[in-house]
Symmetry: C2
């Protein structure tokens, strides 16, 4: 039985405010409408094919970005052109990418000779061609080769593999997304992403393909997306937003909430709801509380959110509360389904299809 | 196709070292074998019916503890006597408890007149009897009524509801589980849980049933479990353990690991694996690394674990690494299945049946 209204939804639950989400999606598409740089929305933020479909439908997109092969498999139902912006190593992951490449345009990232070799072998065996971006370390110090000659050498190894097709390069300035001061964020991002653009020039000078120069996120979409030479931005969180990105003054609204039920009000200054951190992560800090004036989350335990209240608060046992996540991506990852709502009306249930780490079929 | 050996398991994956887990389960059962106080293992730690089955099979148990109705439904396949150690409020939760009570001995916690009224109504409508414990605030300041007369008044309300059966009281000293110093932990726990035992005396003096006095956890099992008047301990984490409880010098071993694959080794001092915090939480701090001498997790991003390495480390792209979770409960909650292994051999796949917040059927 599908719930018809908010009050019928069992808690804790992840609620998507569809009109707010649509406004976010439209605003981002509009930003990229008349620019050389386009958008490749990151699926990892929501893992929800229906949201990806709406992002593509809004226009200005080159395709979808994914973080894992499982996400690419999930989004392949609604998207033909998929970038897995991550190294593909181990298990059956290269075989699964090759399989996807039969009917989709798939591009992966590499930062090592091993990565080139594994994917080349699987693509060759499957008789498919797989696109490749060289992954550049633009300062995040996670994966990625150093800008400059190392990147060019790796690009040549890709070109030498007949089953691989070099498309260009990518780099993620993840370490800069959260800088609050706009001027500092802008300066740091330009410095970081110029390394990517400069290495693209090296590719061109060496006669290597570089039609794709990919990177960026929600915090830098209008900085990296405004940089000469960038071709696409991998922003994801903008569709649903969270309080962490909310601090940056971006033109996007909160569009997702964790809904809980008040289980207890032991004192006038405290209530406890059933939406703990198994339904809402706290890796970017405690979530905010929507609507309830003066209410604040003081603890998020496994199954309980503890709220401090003004003693005059009229909130009572059985009432619903709404938390605004501090970090959308891992919060959505905790849910199997999103409730798509408009006001109090439940429009639809959207499966979070790309979540979890499924065992072998 | 079920993987036969560790190397065939797709990553990231949650690995249970079955012999280590069995030793933990046996040690805990042994502690309670010849005591008046017994064990009621907490299902929320793993949400895995097969582990609950083994905990019950080891003996010394009164039944299983759950945190949610969904967990109780999941464990009802292997356990008859279930305590939902939480307030049951809102939606169809009371109806589901009543349904479970047809064929199982179910007990819930209450800390309000509303909680008593809702459950009494649902139990009455279903023609079943539901057990009730009064939930006492023993200092955690989450749910629970104050020790003393308030608790007695609420107990009377339970006794007045014909479809409810008062069984006693519970209190969770969750705020004391993590005190490192054994003497302090012991003193604080005795002080906290004596409030529970004293309120049980008030119940008895008032002619109210108090055959169950329930509480405790892995950090206090041999403190609260050794206190005159306690009848059962709700420990859960002892079966799989984590680095947070590992600091307490308890007689339990690490028995669960998040296995990842090395995707990148960009520098001699750094590698990156595919087991980020969508597969391993960091709410109790970054996880430890097993085996790899001198390796340390420096960041746990959504899909990436970043490790610092001694430059001499021979770890290479494609190798498997094993993280020891800092907090078992929410880490297990991220997985749909556990891989039960002995050494390199996969013995079985165990569904994490009680996880997630399922939409209406």
């Amino acid at each position: 039985m599908t719930p018809q209204s908010l009050s019928e939804i069992p808690t804790p639950a992840l609620i998507v405010d569809v009109p707010a989400m649509q406004r976010n999606i439209a605003r981002m598409a509009e930003y990229f409408a008349n620019r050389p740089c386009k958008l490749r929305p990151h699926f990892k933020a929501h893992k929800t094919p229906e949201i990806a479909r709406r992002q593509l439908a809004a226009g200005s997109c080159t395709g979808i970005t994914c973080a894992t092969v499982a996400e690419a498999e999930a989004v392949s139902a609604v998207c033909h052109d998929i970038l897995i912006a991550n190294e593909i190593i181990g298990g059956d992951t290269c075989e699964r990418v090759a399989l996807l490449s039969r009917h989709h345009r798939i591009t992966i990232a590499v930062d090592s000779a091993e990565g080139v070799r594994e994917m080349a072998k699987a693509a060759d065996r499957a008789g498919v061609s797989v696109g490749v971006l060289v992954d550049l370390n633009v300062g995040q110090d996670r994966c990625g080769v150093a800008p400059g000659p190392d990147a060019v050498a790796l690009a040549r190894a890709v070109v030498d593999a007949p089953a691989l097709r070099l498309r260009g390069l990518m780099g993620y300035e993840g370490h800069l997304q959260g800088i609050h001061n706009r001027a500092s964020r802008e300066a740091e991002t330009r410095r970081s992403m110029n390394q990517l653009v400069q290495t693209a020039h090296l590719f061109r000078d060496a006669g290597l393909p570089s039609e794709v120069v990919s990177g960026g996120g929600t915090g830098t979409f209008d900085i990296s997306g405004n940089l000469d030479g960038m071709t696409e931005i991998q922003a994801g969180s903008y569709a649903l937003m969270d309080t962490d990105y909310g601090k940056l003054g971006l033109p996007f609204e909160y569009a997702s909430y964790v809904m809980g039920t008040v289980l207890s009000r032991p004192t006038p200054e405290r209530c406890v709801a059933d939406c703990g951190h198994k339904s809402c992560t706290k890796d970017h800090g405690l979530p905010d509380v929507r609507d309830l004036n003066g209410a604040r989350v003081t603890a998020l335990n496994d199954e309980h959110a503890v709220l401090s209240l003004p003693a005059t608060s009229t909130i009572k046992i059985g009432d619903r509360i709404f938390l605004i996540p501090s970090h959308t991506d891992p919060t959505l990852n905790l849910h199997d389904v999103l409730y798509a709502v408009e006001g109090d009306v439940v429009l639809d249930l959207w499966p979070v299809a790309g979540r979890g780490y499924k065992p072998h079929k």
